[in-house]
């Protein structure tokens, strides 16, 4: 499956342009080295996050639908979003417009006021991770991997919105990010809380509730001695990274786990420099973790299973 070069419309979203530039930087590097072309949706607007939907529902759907309409106008077949929250809103709006006739009519009537319109289902709405895993595939990624992340223990963090409420991946225990990281040479640790919530905008309501959600995730990654957590969403990155010192203060913990975008890890493995991948903008520094990347594959990965018929133990998954 080789990607046709011009069928991806790209929806960056607001966070990636402000708080999470490293994500876009590394995304663009990786996308380029994989030979894909992302065409930015011209004059895209905010997806409304969760806030807009809390205030007024039809304007919120219409806000999102303007982006769908613009992307479809560009002739794209797929719309790619690197942010899980943007992905959810785009995907959900497309789906609900297809499912609920009244909503579709109302949204299209609103769009018409701006000389736009959108036929639900005309775009495949996809998260960046899905595009990389499905359209590029692990074989190509393995070929591209020049500097495997040997020895780096990574917890694969999916968060909520790319697997719930509606996706082709398992809503509670997806494995495609695990697989991707493994192909990059990393040691993927078990991470039972991999699809638990980062707290979203809870930091705006209650510190206690928000920090407890973040604490659980950090604790779980720490239990499995992860050197880093790989993330696929600007909001997850921000909550786990920027608030980690606050969490440490509140719970008297000493977590020191860098939260890295999966595209940063891909870029590293592809031999792209740390600087070009936006390393250094994380609040919890990745330096110590990156030093763990070894020149040789760790012993364990080389060992074959003694008895080929035996079921693999979780720890020994290849």
């Amino acid at each position: 499956m080789s990607p046709a070069n011009d069928h991806y419309a790209y929806y960056p979203g607001c966070s990636i342009r402000s708080t999470s530039k490293a994500y876009e930087q590394s995304t663009m590097k990786v996308v380029e080295s994989l030979g894909m072309t992302f065409q930015e949706v011209e004059d895209w607007n905010c997806c409304g996050a969760t806030e807009y939907f809390s205030i007024n529902s039809l304007p919120a759907y219409s806000l999102v639908a303007r982006n769908l309409s613009l992307a479809a106008e560009q002739g794209a077949s797929d719309l790619v979003a690197p942010c899980s929250a943007c992905f959810l809103n785009l995907h959900k709006t497309d789906k609900y417009m297809g499912k609920y006739k009244d909503l579709n009519e109302d949204v299209n009537q609103a769009l018409a006021a701006g000389n736009l319109g959108y036929e639900p289902g005309s775009l495949q709405i996809r998260h960046l991770l899905d595009v990389i895993v499905e359209d590029i595939g692990f074989d190509t990624i393995a070929e591209k991997t020049e500097k495997p992340l040997w020895g780096l223990r990574v917890a694969p963090y999916y968060g909520c919105l790319i697997v719930r409420p509606d996706s082709k991946y398992n809503p509670e225990y997806p494995t495609h990010l695990d697989e991707l990281l493994r192909v990059l040479g990393a040691t993927v640790v078990d991470f039972p809380l991999k699809t638990h919530c980062c707290g979203g905008h809870m930091t705006q309501i209650s510190d206690e509730t928000a920090y407890e959600l973040i604490r659980r995730l950090l604790h779980n990654a720490d239990e499995y001695q992860a050197d880093a957590i790989a993330t696929i969403c600007p909001m997850c990155q921000m909550n786990l990274d920027v608030f980690q010192p606050q969490v440490n203060r509140m719970f008297k913990t000493d977590f020191d786990i860098p939260i890295l975008y999966f595209t940063q890890l891909m870029g590293l493995a592809f031999g792209i420099s740390e600087k070009e991948l936006g390393f250094g903008s994380e609040v919890v520094s990745a330096n110590a973790a990156l030093k763990k990347i070894a020149d040789e594959a760790p012993e364990k990965a080389k060992k074959a299973r003694r008895d080929k018929k035996a079921l693999p133990m979780p720890e020994s998954l290849p």
Binding site: N45, D106, A110, A112, C160, P165, H196, L213
Partner: protein, 189 residues
């Protein structure tokens, strides 16, 4: 307690205001939603309990609960509910109803939400999503807000805070769309 001023019960209005809301009538009161909810322990009433209260038309009590505001929109309840009730969407409906009626819980982040919406309606883009917003939008002087919050400062140092919002080019188009959407919505009320 019971508010039939619009000619239909609270229960019916909640259902009507939610795409797929009819499924609410199928609630088994099994508690899977509350048991799956990361914020469950901090909620006045779990989603299950809230749905029983809705069925009983306890409008004031329901809208006064902190439950919708503590919902982090993780969709665990929605994928686990055996009756396929759109629990998360119902939480959004309750937020909107509470705001519309001015009866929301004190922890509600209505100022944050409405400031966010104002920014988007003005610029077409949001900025500083999540962090900084509360302090900045509360119109504290930016400098003191930054000093007051350790995380704000560390974000500044890492070049992750921009102080001017981006904006889209075709604002008139977006405004026309949103105005029309509001107009349609108001006619349906």
């Amino acid at each position: 307690m019971q508010d039939n001023s619009r000619g239909s019960s609270f229960y019916k209005r909640v259902i009507e205001a939610t795409p797929g809301g009819e499924a609410l009538s199928l609630c088994l009161q099994c508690g899977t939603c509350g048991g799956s909810c990361p914020s469950g322990p901090d909620m006045d009433a779990t989603p299950r309990r809230l749905f029983a209260m809705i069925a009983a038309n306890m409008e004031d009590e329901v809208l006064g609960c902190n439950t919708p505001w503590y919902c982090v929109s993780c969709y665990y309840c929605t994928v686990r509910c055996p009756q396929e009730i759109p629990v998360t969407d119902l939480m959004y409906t309750l937020k909107r109803m509470a705001i519309a009626r001015g009866r929301y819980h004190k922890d509600a982040h209505v100022t944050f939400s409405s400031n966010f919406v104002d920014l988007v309606e003005k610029n077409g883009r949001s900025f500083e999503l999540g962090v900084m917003t509360r302090t900045m939008l509360a119109s504290h002087p930016i400098a003191s807000a930054l000093k007051a919050s350790g995380y704000g400062l560390s974000m500044m140092q890492k070049g992750r805070v921009s102080l001017t919002p981006e904006h889209i080019e075709n604002m008139p188009q977006l405004t026309a769309i949103l105005d029309e959407a509001k107009h349609i919505a108001s006619q349906k009320e």
